[in-house]
Point group: C2
Chain length 211, copies 2
Amino acid sequence: MDNDQITLLTGQVIAQMRQRAIPLGISNRHVHLSAMDYQRLFPGQPLMVKKALGQPGQFAAEQTVTLKGLKGQLKNVRLLGPLRGQSQIEISRTDARLLGITAPLRLSGDVAGSAGITLVSDYAEISLAEGVIIAQRHIHMSRLDAAIFGVKQGEIVNVEIKGTDRPLIFGGVCIRVGDDMRLELHIDTDEANAADIGEGKPTARLLLTQF
Amino acid sequence: MDNDQITLLTGQVIAQMRQRAIPLGISNRHVHLSAMDYQRLFPGQPLMVKKALGQPGQFAAEQTVTLKGLKGQLKNVRLLGPLRGQSQIEISRTDARLLGITAPLRLSGDVAGSAGITLVSDYAEISLAEGVIIAQRHIHMSRLDAAIFGVKQGEIVNVEIKGTDRPLIFGGVCIRVGDDMRLELHIDTDEANAADIGEGKPTARLLLTQF
């Protein structure tokens, strides 16, 4: 094969890879805890793995807590592991209304000045001054995938959902690139319901043109 | 003004009217009752108007019921008036999951073979074999608006939501034309949350090209 042939084939392979369906990850409400907050809620308990998640090293834990807001509470909310530098509680707008919490739309990790909440375990009840966010929709991807799609860390893109009775295009989707990341679109339950993911055969594709 | 000038101006006015923002109506879970089911639940009670709705003649009633499914219940669910030929309960996918009901995505009025439910008032509890749907997103409009937008009853269109941190394009939006209808996009709470309507300054526009 000469160089021209290789260039041609490579171009075709990359064009196909850019059209590839993006695996969907629907995030139900969940809790990430700092080591300190975990020890306050589950003193002396090891954090137990229940199920591995789509992103390498991430897992759903056996432990759950109750979220308590001013207006309501949500029980059996799962902890995700591993523990983090800062506690972060991710809920949907539906959850926020039920709890009576005014939570901002934020990227994961950006919790400064976010909403407060009370967390309850079998052992303790703790109040956090901040940490509650509604997660901005985002796509995790490796550096190689970012190069293939031609997108950068922090870029805002559009993703088309087809194959359901509620097709749509999500704008405001943030690209998150990491060596340990696997290609996956993360949306919350409100967003999944708005696209009727769960019914039909949904496929997600990155739109490489603006709308 | 000669005829050419009138044609030119008319064209410009229509082009502007096609770009007009569509008022947003967010439907929380609600109940339409047949006269018979109403009498079973509220014997001898007049249906009382609490608040007029966006569509002429439609209103939120003072009366509320509890929805009871296999897994959970939702209290204080508002009746809308006037009474209809058939009872119809409109919920979101979030509600369906909480209630433990498998409700189909349908246009209003298309309840044959839809999900059953139990309704509870202060006076009675009745079980319906069908009537529970998740409403397909739709736009109400007059015949004149349909002519201006160049769309037909039952046509499926796309609507762009801008001005929030979760911009998106809703596909699968059904056009509903009626002499007594006023221009309004109807979406449910899951869809409103996915677009972050309620935050920011959302505007909805009909997209006259396919995506």
